[in-house]
């Protein structure tokens, strides 16, 4: 199997990387968990401190791998390893966090080379309850990075929304429709 057939899902801890992968994966995502000893324990029952892995199986048997990066910054040494051979990255931003725009900065900067070499999409979650910052603010922040990327409000529990993220991501890389 060609190891280069992969996409990355990244974002802050608890944003829903595992959930997003599960929404479109043809296998149940493999998740390695470890107990959180910091404030993350207050946010969710479990936290991912290693890789999430999912897979989309094409009709011709080819497999597209979906990797969720560890969210905590103390594991950011793994981010560079994971970018090798990746076809693009889905950056998920949780709008309920104290500073979503600063979160965006972290992932845009750390995955900047991958973004420039391939493509990326920004998925902003929990906007139904947390409407600010709005999408315009995210575009302004991306503009400061000299980037134009799709920014989509999404519910990553919904397959349709995650599918839309993937379609937008692929369009930033290869817009051809056929």
């Amino acid at each position: 199997m060609d190891a280069s057939r992969k996409f990355l899902f990244t974002g802050s801890p608890g944003v829903g990387k595992t959930t997003a992968i599960r929404a479109i994966s043809d296998i149940e995502p493999v998740t390695t968990e470890m107990a959180a000893s910091d404030e993350l324990a207050a946010r969710k029952e479990s936290t991912t401190a290693a890789l999430d892995f999912g897979e989309i199986r094409l009709d011709d048997g080819e497999r597209i791998r979906l990797y969720g990066t560890p969210g905590q910054r103390r594991f950011d040494f793994m981010w560079e390893l994971l970018t090798e051979g990746a076809m693009g990255v889905v950056i998920l931003v949780d709008n309920s966090r104290p500073d979503p725009l600063a979160d965006l900065d972290i992932y845009v900067e750390n995955f900047g080379q991958l973004i420039r070499d391939t493509g990326a999409v920004i998925g902003v979650t929990r906007t139904d309850r947390y409407s600010t910052p709005d999408v315009d603010a995210f575009y302004a922040r991306l503009g400061a990075h000299r980037l134009m990327l799709p920014i989509l409000e999404c519910d990553i529990r919904e397959r349709d929304d995650v599918t839309l993220l993937m379609d937008a991501l692929m369009s930033t890389i290869e817009p051809e429709s056929a």
Binding site: T118, L152, L164, E176, S177
Partner: protein, 204 residues
């Protein structure tokens, strides 16, 4: 005085009434008398570009050889056939004049480049998957319609409609500057891979 017909698509009842009133006032001043109709095949169609089905409505109007005018909150870039809410008589007159010119010229003369200001929202992308292709192509920098058609493999006649939707939604604007593209550093996906993946995800 020449009689022209204008079909409204997805406008609210109130907006239809406002449009009807404006058309009657405009007709008293100008050479053409526009009448609001419901039947497809009018001289022009005014489409609510904020509606989820805007893309589809525009395609249907074009197939009926109606000149398409879009109405939206943002109103686009002030060029072309885009109107901003609320309707104003002067803007309506100008757009109707351009619509007649466009009809006479066969809709040609679009050598200027298009620039992406932002991607449309998820509702619009859900309703018309080709919008992601157009925005993806424009993400590399301002491009002419011909360039976009080449990159996306979308026919120019359909691409015109899509660009009008995007312009009406404030996502795209025309630029007088020369088209330039930012080529990606080194990587292209294996041939056909993304098409197969999109098909698998139901987005092809």
């Amino acid at each position: 005085m020449t009689r022209r017909t204008l079909r409204s698509v997805n406008l609210s009842r109130r907006e239809q009434m406002e449009l009807d009133l404006l058309l009657s006032l405009v007709g008293e001043q100008e050479g053409d008398q526009w009448q609001l109709v419901n039947r497809i095949g009018a001289d022009a169609a005014i489409v609510d570009a904020d509606a989820e089905t805007a893309g589809q409505s525009i395609v249907e109007a074009r197939r009926a050889e109606e000149v398409v005018i879009t109405l939206s909150q943002s109103g686009g870039d002030g060029e072309g056939l885009c109107l901003a809410r609320p309707l104003r008589s002067q803007a309506l007159v100008q757009v109707l004049e351009r619509a007649l010119q466009r009809a006479a010229a066969g809709g040609r003369g679009e050598a200027s480049a298009y620039r992406l200001r932002r991607w449309p929202g998820t509702d619009m992308l859900r309703s018309e998957w080709r919008l992601t292709r157009v925005c993806g192509a424009l993400g590399r920098g301002p491009q002419t319609m011909s360039d976009i058609a080449t990159r996306t493999s979308i026919e120019e006649s359909e691409l015109r409609d899509l660009l009008q939707v995007l312009t009406g939604a404030g996502c795209v604007e025309r630029t007088a500057g020369s088209a330039r593209t930012r080529e990606r550093a080194s990587w292209t996906p294996p041939s056909g891979l993304f098409h197969r993946l999109r098909a698998r995800l139901g987005r092809a």
